[in-house]
Symmetry: D2
Subunit: 468 residues, 4 copies
């Protein structure tokens, strides 16, 4: 799936001799949640130490960088955002000094009233050095008159609407908190005597930490003196877990909202096969994100799964496009079609989602050029038509191919022979096939437009915020 706002992963660890090294490993495991910038802040008990850069975790953190990150407590962050706000100033964790000392914050999500809050803050004299929602939260904490960090955090977040899975680090304590809707995941683990926090359980696997439980929607954990205390300071609301984490965003090996992502993804493929079968010879996946659903589709239909599209994993950050680009090198640099697998075959191509449709169209062409006689696109989610305001990077409404086109028109645009989307009901059926998910409620606003929270900022005449 092509890239669509601001996506992030967060990590935290308290009371470990190798806090910065483990945070570095944790961020490596969460790299898929944001490849643009990464940062770690540690606490040595009295001072915070920070290191943030643009780039991949494995490129940023040299031994020198890690050696300055001293202390037994740490938080970390990886980030991706639309190009407009791709700027060092916006990399996290943010670290500031205020009346009560130093504080660092790493935030996954987006606030729906960030602009409103920012305007109020600015009207009261606040200055901003970034365009992130996160800086708004810090200002609210700094202005709170509460006498403990926990209370200040609660007061600040009570004013915030939207999605947030956050880890805070002060010289003395680590606070982890998840918004009352539970949009984005946040999990608690244990490594020896240390408490660990992460966006996804795959980060625990790498450092060999034990998964303890999901941090609950609206739950706030304070870890201090290595004692963990849990609070539920916010009003209860109906939960709205992001279903798109299952569709595409999370790593297949993670346990999300209680269930394994790979299994759900495969079930989505089975359900897709039931709803949208195809008279074809083989099934192929758009790697890597379409692979589990394609396996489910193959299992359900009995059609053999073949390696029809090969992915080149050596694609760098700044690949240079030659000038003769009538041809679509963008996709070809990443994918190649296997001619003798596809030649003369009626092919089902399984992908997880379609955003703008441009990549899918190129994939259809590439498959056709490799000799496929029929091409049946099968998508393991409903037509995506609405922007996400809760932490997934989507385009504006007008750019979705499914905005204004029905599936038959999209099929025409893609030049495929048929196009089948999983239905909204089918998607939820696949999710609710898993017992651990049956008591959960989800946000699928990107497919339905039914946003769980009113988007306040959209009512404000938008002021242009810039980065420098």
């Amino acid at each position: 799936m092509a890239k669509i706002g601001e996506e992030c992963g967060v990590f935290g660890i308290f009371n470990h001799a190798e806090a910065s090294n483990l945070t570095y490993l944790g961020l490596h495991a969460l790299q898929h949640r944001g490849q643009e910038s990464a940062g770690i802040v540690t606490s040595d008990g009295s001072l915070l130490h920070a290191y943030r850069r643009m780039g991949l975790v494995s490129d940023i953190f040299t031994e020198d960088a890690l050696s300055i990150l001293q202390g037994r407590n740490a938080i970390g962050h990886v980030r991706y955002s639309t190009s407009g706000s791709s700027h060092p100033k916006n990399s996290q964790p943010i670290v500031v000094t205020y009346s009560k000392g130093e504080i660092a914050i790493a935030h996954n999500g987006n606030l729906t009233n960030a602009r409103t809050l920012r305007e109020e803050l600015e009207d009261n004299g606040a200055i901003f050095q970034s365009s992130t929602d996160t800086e708004v939260i810090v200002h609210l904490i700094a202005r709170s008159r509460q006498d403990s960090l926990m209370k200040r955090v609660v007061e600040a977040l009570t004013l915030c609407r939207g999605a947030y899975s956050i880890v805070f680090l002060s010289p003395e304590c680590l606070i982890a908190v998840r918004d009352p809707y539970g949009f984005r995941p946040l999990v608690l683990g244990r490594l020896g005597n240390s408490h660990v926090i992460a966006s996804e359980t795959c980060a625990f696997d790498l450092i060999e930490a034990q998964f303890v439980r999901d941090i609950e929607p609206g739950e706030l954990l304070v870890i201090e003196n290595n004692v963990l205390e849990s609070y539920k300071p916010f009003a209860e609301v109906k939960h709205a877990h992001c279903v798109f984490e299952f569709i595409y965003f999370s790593r297949p090996d993670s346990f999300l909202f209680g269930e394994n992502v790979y299994q759900v993804r495969k079930e989505l493929g089975k359900q897709l096969a039931l709803e949208q079968p195809a008279d074809a010879d083989i099934v192929i996946a758009v790697p890597d994100s379409g692979v589990p659903a394609a396996m489910g589709f193959s299992e359900q239909t009995g059609l053999p799964l073949e390696l029809g599209l090969l992915r080149n994993h050596y694609v760098g950050r700044t690949f240079i496009e030659p000038q003769q680009s009538i041809r679509n090198f963008g996709v070809k640099l990443k994918l190649n079609a296997l001619r003798n697998v596809l030649s003369g075959k009626r092919v089902v191509i399984v992908d997880d989602s379609i955003v703008r449709g441009t990549t899918s169209r190129k994939i259809v062409k590439m498959t056709r050029d490799a000799g496929a006689t029929e091409i049946h696109m099968r998508i393991s989610s409903p037509p995506m038509r609405f922007p996400c305001y809760f932490g997934i990077d989507t385009p504006v409404k007008e750019e979705f191919v499914a905005n204004g086109l029905d599936p038959s028109e999209i099929n025409k645009y893609l030049t495929s022979d048929s196009l089948g989307y999983l239905s909204q009901d089918g998607m939820m059926k696949a999710v609710y096939a898993y017992k651990s998910l049956q008591d959960k409620t989800f946000c699928s606003a990107c497919f339905t437009g039914a946003y769980p929270i009113e988007i306040e900022d959209s009512k404000i005449k938008q002021k242009q915020y810039r980065l420098f």
Copy 2:
């Protein structure tokens, strides 16, 4: 499979307005053949221009770098070698001035009499600035009294023994040549009015060039004034195509020695299933290289193929190992086992080969820790026991786990419940299952020790050659 000498990919293009850009793309497609250094040399008709660096193709070649690579003809090279000779001095193409002007050379392969030739050259006053076999070839060309570059190249190569797929570039012409044994692949393509040369056909796919044919063992092509002439200047010998290109080294989407790599690899998996079935619940692959054989194994046995090991593709070049490395982060940084796929299951793990056994052992442990009740390792090639002297990077004989241990002992070392290798006969049967390969003869010396050429250098008391 873990890394084992000097592996390379080469590319050449003659008469194209975007020679350097296309070479850059071609090298990108060949990146799997060498991730350590890369270089491009172009000819503008009178002068050569060169750019070589350590690193990945997509990182090395910025727009600035490509802009200095002027001219319509170009050759390129990607390289990997064992750490000892990992040095900028050894990056290719090599460019030198000699009595007849400038010449550049990009070489895939290894000479078996390089040391012997080097000693003779040094005894006659030659100076060397690298430790590569390739510099030996340039010296031989420079010393030739022949009156054309083609004849000088032939005279030089007539003195060389071993594996070489080479592209030469002079200000006026491009020469491509493959040793009489045909160890390493080399293919000829066409893009509009331009001739193109590459190690593998996948490079043609990316630039949308047409595959014309394999350059034959012992064939030498001269491209000048855009006229291509073919020569067969060397004595005929029995061909010895590298079977390991099929097993592991080439890209699945390439056509190698006439056949698609993915298909052969899948057939190897089927044959493996016939020879070494297992009473198990699921089949999983060691990604990415074990995937095609696992698909064949699954198809043959009917056992379901599952995603049991997930690969993290964000691994950088210089990943820092935390100090607490009792744990094997090396493998964990790349692979994670999916607990709920593996838990309680009897699992067949399919990999393409075992070299030292250390990685396989870690994979077995990781799978066991994820809950697998039985682990049956199945390898789609015979026990690897002999170093390659023809262009594949292997360890010395003593380091192969199969050197001195029989499969049951290796099984014990790996802590798997059973271990099954494909037999030598089975491997060749899978290869010869394809009609286009039935008239070919192969080198499988890494499995049998039956080297097609005597290794002359091993008889010389080895002098220490250093790099600076």
Copy 3:
């Protein structure tokens, strides 16, 4: 003179097609005022563009960097500070967004009530991302309820005590302001239709701008729509121009407070010769800062000026000290004594000032080792004993060699044969020898301890402010 707080240079230009290029040149000319970091912010009329880095102006600003600095208005800053706060976060100009839009600020000087103000701001919810005084000023502006930028700046600065020569840039206008005491210089120039602001006139010489006049103490200039308006919004106080700018800090070719620095420096040398003559054979300077005074000393005494100490200008930023450092490579890397000039001679060494005495002591030893029979140190300023709180980087009081030692004891420490300082009266006499300076009053608190402003912050229990 060895390095002693925070030293800076500022530059601004309004309405010029090459605003960023000229700012770059202006900062190059002001490089002596700060070699640690540099930055430029431009305005294109609606947005600000910023580029700041650690390093020298000529290394930081590549063509790429300058090309992003679009617009006809610009301000720039060079900075040096004691190592503790040497951090990218503290580089200037600072750029922030507040309720009224964007603003950038470049500040030369130090506030004496910065900590007091910061505490008040923090108590009211302000967050800080740097440890600079400058961020305090931005907060005060952001909190002002005044309806024009000019009025907000005035309101903010009315709260500030201390030294400030500042240029502000908003998308629409440029504001330049000098504190009522006039501690640091700030000059106004003209280049065609453009107004130019700089710390020193040498910046005008390089870009061929005309010097118009000094910006007066307490004067605030607003340049908007290319109209310049002057205001005197602050209460009048007795001026306190920094005499040390004449002694050491400004460039010899600049006109400072109305007079040429080189001439004053030479006059200081003459006055030194009258007060502290020496029975010697030759006069030598400690290059480069001691040269003008040495010329004056030679002219007054008739003793020949010789090149006794040669300076190596190739000293890099991070020169590595070999381990065998019983020897004092620090000074030797910069200076070498000319044996055959010094051998057998009674030598007067003229330097502008002595801070800790360690460098002077090494120079004496070096000169003695080169064969000088007598060494008479002559210093063209009084004993320096008090830290500067107004923009010159000095050590704390305890580190001055003249803190607690009288000249005869210092002479003993330096191992010189005699040591003569210029008297306070003599220094002022040399300054007042110039008509244009006779109506001026100066700050010479580093010599006398008579600070023109009470240092408020010193009364606050110091909180530790950190950088990240």
Copy 4:
């Protein structure tokens, strides 16, 4: 003086625990002899270790770089050359492997038969990887059949004509050699139990080594097992020490051919004053190279020496020229004229030499613009009209302003009021004023065209040698 071929400095040390550190310091002291690239090669007794880069010594050699340069013996090199051959491939010391093992070479000078030798070598099969004369010498050594390194070096150099001051390093020994003419300096020193070699004595001063003596023209020193042996293997010729080292190239604090450079330079200024007095008010120098001669001129004439031109030492390597460059930023970036020193004055400007005249012309204009009423250019050497083939970087003949113009025409070009050069006789008189120089003979071919050696290469039809 503006920059004019290939200029270098060399350094060597044998038997010191900190060989690489001291070489690094030695090269720092020799930085003025070449600012383009630098390199060090060390020997640990069995292997050579090398590090070479483009840039300044203090930027190139980090602690990491020095730490890989292990061993007790080392040689180093700094280099400058005209832009055409400014390429990493040409940086030194060159290190190669040949039949007898490894050898490194650092060379100051130029061979007059390099092209002739190179053609002969290439005709015999040699390949070249650089365009330097130095690679020719290495080939000659490699082809020698002599049984010791010393004999091979002698055999090789017997074939070479021209200027060479060279240090060689093999795993076992260090060889220093100076051509029979003695064009370029080379000195021997002692530091404890270590022998030291350098281009100039200023390198000894920095590391506190004792100057022992000049290495004599035609002398070859072999240092092995810390025993130094001296040889005179070449035929005697009339010495031809480079007089231009005194005029401009060497550092003022060095002892050159037996005499201190500063003293000679000052004497040149005195002689210039006798030959070319001027009716003027003040004398100013073009800093830094014109300062000693200006001091001599002032002393002889009694005219006061003033600081009329100030040099900015912060000029980086790649200073960006703004587009509005009708103005001559090139010179202005380095020099500024002091208006109130020059205004209304009749000024003598003393410089060491004039090459193309473009810089001098700009200096005259700058001085005039600063208010000088009369400008009298005085040059402490004769008109420079002939290219150097012996190690000074000069332009081709046609580019000298004195090629075809007599002094009065040059004066007109410079727009000065008068121009006076020191005569050839006067220059030699100043040099021979020093007893230690009276038995020496000099090369002043750049002034007279009387080359001590026939320039063989100029007779060959020039083949284009390129760099890659």
